[in-house]
């Protein structure tokens, strides 16, 4: 396991460097003069010069890159152009709500997908299976920026059961978590079903049945344990997708998370904050993917040997 971890961490380094480089280059992709875009055409020359110096844009690209990397390593992600606060501080206070929302969405997704995928696989080819699969396809096809407002309309406006938006107690998690978790629930349901069907076809399942175990005993002891291993991978990858999907969901529900901060920073052209948010979401994604690989290797020893 130690060697596996070391190998995995080694492959992570170039990817991490690539991500940091891409995030660094974002500001340089702004067409024209980035300082003029950020401050507007009416900005005073002195203000422009000050921002150019603050962002190290007056120095060669390689030097700027060096400053950026050192900044990232020492926790200095720059300063917000609008609030004047350190980007790291702004991002750090928004990470918690986004993480909790993502976690809540995962709980929603797993609690829907596992039973539905299981029933669907056991009843493969029947009307129950077809209904579940149509439901899953609907979930995949449903844009969360449509589902969110519809849920708000039904449960907050008409029924008055749940809050309209913002983060205010456990009830405020329900609608954003359902909105964010629906697509993942749909993808997971299909994955659980496919994985179960594949394992149910294996020889060891026939052997277990031939030994006299009941259908449910075989399911619980042999099939589920094997079928859920690939599902772990999908879960990990989907966690990253959820982090990115939170950008839209948080906008719909005025959720005080990283996604909303990203959109606010984009609207105010606060590019250091945009860079900070993008970097944090990517790091979260990479961390989730690393954790997934570790869980995968722990659950399936064959992975460690590859």
């Amino acid at each position: 396991m130690g060697m596996f971890l070391l190998r995995r961490l080694t492959t992570l380094i170039p990817v991490l460097l690539g991500v940091l480089t891409a995030v660094f280059l974002l500001i340089h992709m702004i067409p024209g003069d980035p300082v003029e875009v950020m401050l507007g055409e009416m900005a005073l020359p002195a203000d422009r010069e000050a921002l150019r110096v603050q962002l190290h844009l007056d120095q060669p690209l390689a030097v700027q890159y060096g400053h950026y990397l050192v900044g990232v390593l020492t926790g200095d992600l720059g300063t917000s152009m609008h609030s004047g606060r350190p980007v790291l501080e702004m991002v750090a206070e928004r990470v918690g709500p986004t993480f909790l929302l993502t976690l809540a969405a995962m709980v929603v997704a797993i609690s829907v997908a596992l039973p539905l995928g299981l029933i669907s696989a056991l009843k493969a080819g029947t009307a129950v299976d077809h209904t579940a699969m149509v439901g899953a396809l609907l979930g995949v096809s449903m844009p969360n920026f449509w589902l969110g407002p519809l849920l708000l309309l039904a449960f907050s406006v008409h029924l008055g059961w749940l809050p309209l938006g913002g983060l205010d107690g456990p009830l405020s998690f329900i609608l954003p978590a359902i909105t964010l978790g629906t697509a993942m629930a749909a993808i997971l349901t299909r994955m659980v079903r496919a994985s179960l069907l594949e394992v149910m076809d294996r020889e060891f399942v026939r052997a277990a049945l031939a030994k006299g175990l009941t259908r449910w005993q075989v399911m619980a002891r042999h099939v589920l344990a094997n079928a859920l291993i690939p599902v772990i991978t999908v879960l990990g990858l989907q966690f990253g997708a959820l982090l990115a999907g939170a950008i839209i969901t948080e906008t719909v529900f005025s959720w005080p998370g990283l996604g909303r901060l990203t959109v606010e920073a984009i609207q105010t052209r606060d590019y250091p904050v945009v860079q900070g948010c993008v970097m944090f979401i990517c790091l979260g994604y990479l961390a989730a993917s690393l954790l997934t690989d570790i869980c995968y290797a722990a659950a399936d020893p064959r992975v460690r040997l590859r």
Binding site: T11, P14, V15, L16, G18, V19, A22, L26, I27, M29, I30, P31, A121, L122, A124, G125, T126, D129, L137, L138, S141, M142, P143, F145, W146, P149, L150, L152, L153, V157, A194, L197, E198, V199, M200, D201, V205, R206, L209, R215, V218, M219, G240, A241, A244, G245, I247, I248, T251, V252, T262, I266, Q267, Y271, V274, V278, I281, C282, Y285, L286
Partner: protein
């Protein structure tokens, strides 16, 4: 019943293409024509799906919005497939350091989850439809490159490739004439889902104000405009969203059917009721 997904998916795609091509003739009125006295008018009467906050006809705007969605879907998938196939094929066929370098680049792109890279790129490049397409293509080629590389790695060891090599075919010729046509099935399936993804991504970016700009009608932008009036004019939100859902559902159904046809489905096993 078995043909329903294909019929539904094909029907939706046909309707989308028809709306996009014949939008000026199919729309009841000009989608940009403002009618302030009748703003936020509900569905019915002369305006079948109602009017928006500026009194524009929602049905006409949905029909014209199909143009944007289809355009983004087709262009993004075409460019991404071409780029992805080229890079994946070269990486898989040449192998060695070139493969290593290209796959590390792919890994970096894959480290950007979902729509994040597109949001970041359109944020810096400026909000416009062209920049949305550019951003979606930049993140879209990666999946195809991985698929094609994997397929080429398998195919290059097969007998028909050896035979082509033995007859003196050049590397590019073997790749283009012999290998690529034989590995395109999964790419075709992925492209179908890619088109659905591109349509949702464009709508999402337009919803955030980063995509299609007013007054051009776009389903995502219509949803964003409708969000302000959801309490007393929910039809502004319901109809454009339904258009996105139906379109994406149709394309996904078609993709599923295509996958079952080209790559085979999964069995039920001895525990499944179907057996």
């Amino acid at each position: 019943m078995r043909r329903f997904p294909v019929l539904f998916g094909g029907g939706v795609l046909g309707l989308l293409a028809l709306s996009a091509l014949l939008a000026p003739w199919l729309s009841p009125v000009d989608p940009t024509s403002i009618d302030l006295p009748n703003r936020l008018l509900g569905p019915g009467g002369a305006h079948l799906l109602g009017q928006d906050a500026l009194g524009r006809d929602i049905l006409s705007r949905i029909i014209h919005g199909a143009r944007v969605s289809l355009f983004v879907g087709v262009v993004t998938v075409s460019v991404s497939v071409t780029l992805g196939c080229l890079i994946g094929a070269v990486a898989g066929y040449r192998g060695g350091w070139l493969d290593e370098v290209l796959m590390r680049v792919v890994d970096v792109f894959l480290a950007f989850p979902g729509i994040l890279l597109a949001i970041a790129l359109t944020a810096v490049l400026g909000p416009s439809l062209n920049n949305v397409i550019l951003a979606l293509c930049i993140m879209g080629w990666v999946g195809y490159a991985r698929i094609v590389r994997g397929q080429v790695l398998l195919a290059r060891e097969l007998t028909f490739v050896e035979a082509a090599r033995a007859t003196g075919c050049s590397g590019p010729r073997i790749l283009l004439r012999h290998i690529l046509p034989n590995v395109m099935a999964p790419v075709l399936v992925e492209a179908t889902f890619g088109m659905a993804g591109a349509i949702i991504a464009e709508a999402g970016l337009s919803f955030l104000g980063l995509g299609t700009q007013p007054p051009t009608p776009s389903w995502g932008a219509m949803l964003a405009e409708g969000a302000d009036y959801i309490l007393f004019a929910p039809h502004l939100t319901i109809f454009p969203g339904a258009a996105i859902l139906l379109t994406v559902l149709g394309i996904n159904l078609l993709g599923d059917a295509l996958r079952d046809r080209l790559q085979g489905g999964t069995g039920g096993g001895v525990l499944g009721e179907a057996k």
